[in-house]
């Protein structure tokens, strides 16, 4: 997993993405701009974050969940 480690903690890129999601609903393009990660990494990373229950999708945008916020607190 590129964004979530086997122990359930976010990796460096996962943490960057979760921090970007902390303030607002964001599109993958917003997150790529904010984090400097390539768009393809953000898109695949978001799939992982959603699957891990630390982010959720709302249309074309994403938000952090309570579980995700606790991980980067």
């Amino acid at each position: 997993m590129a964004c979530i480690s086997p122990d359930g903690k976010p990796t460096e890129s996962g943490t960057k993405m979760l921090r970007a999601l902390k303030s607002n609903l964001k599109t993958p393009e917003d997150i790529a701009r904010e984090t400097g990660l390539p768009l393809f990494r953000v898109r695949s990373g978001l799939r992982e974050l959603v699957q891990a229950g630390v982010a959720e999708q709302d249309g074309s945008k994403y938000r952090i969940t309570e579980k995700g916020a606790a991980l980067i607190a």
């Binding site: 997993m1 590129a2 964004c3 393809f40 898109r43 695949s44």
Partner: protein
């Protein structure tokens, strides 16, 4: 009479949608659609820890900043495992100081290699040959290159093809032999007799009505 059926493996062709895939890579599980909106060079190499492939990966890493400037991502592929890819890129960095910044597909079940016609049994039944697929932001295949196992690829030609394709898309022109940025481009030839007669009066640099060039700015 007994009929012999041979399985024909098709190769994706220029102008066709790139075959979709979802594959484990050194940067996590990636889908083709993750690259939508950017140019993508999908390339295969025969095997990790082999000499020609190592020179190619170093060369791809060296042109990576130039590719990024052009909005192009790189994605490697071989039928080796993720662990093998990780060990190899770490070894390349340790021995040469070159960091491999792009993901590499671990295509152990050869699904992607088969979809893209990357295994040529006449060369090797188990390894992928050196393929390059240039895929545009709409995920259409724009260029296909195949090199044999023994011939390393020319990175400057790959960069030149990207420049040609992006110039063609931007200005609706064609690029002549050995074209490089800054050179004159070919004006698409007219397809009517009237157009042919007018072409020579349009101020282009013409050899004849069907071969005219112009500068682009």
């Amino acid at each position: 009479m007994e009929e012999t059926k041979e399985k024909v493996i098709s190769i994706p062709r220029i102008g066709e949608p790139a075959p979709a895939f979802e594959a484990p890579t050194t940067h996590g599980v990636l889908k083709l659609e993750d690259f939508k909106g950017t140019w993508l060079i999908l390339f295969s190499h025969p095997a990790d820890f082999t000499p020609v492939c190592t020179t190619e990966f170093i060369a791809f890493a060296e042109i990576y900043p130039e590719l990024k400037k052009r909005g192009v991502e790189l994605l490697g592929l071989s039928v080796d495992s993720i662990s093998s890819h990780i060990a190899w890129v770490r070894n390349v960095e340790e021995k040469t100081g070159v960091k491999i910044p792009f993901p590499i597909i671990a295509d152990l079940n050869k699904e992607v290699a088969t979809a893209y016609g990357m295994i040529h049994p006449g060369q090797s039944k188990t390894e992928t040959v050196r393929c390059v697929f240039i895929i545009d932001p709409n995920q259409i295949i724009r260029t296909v290159l195949y090199y044999p196992l023994t011939t390393g690829r020319n990175m400057q030609e790959i960069l030149r093809i990207i420049d040609c394709l992006q110039t063609t898309d931007k200005y609706q022109v064609a690029t002549p032999a050995n074209w490089k940025p800054g050179d004159k481009v070919v004006v698409p030839p007219p397809n009517t007799q009237e157009g042919a007669e007018e072409r020579l009066k349009q101020g282009y640099e013409c050899i004849d009505w069907y071969l005219c060039k112009k500068e682009i700015k």
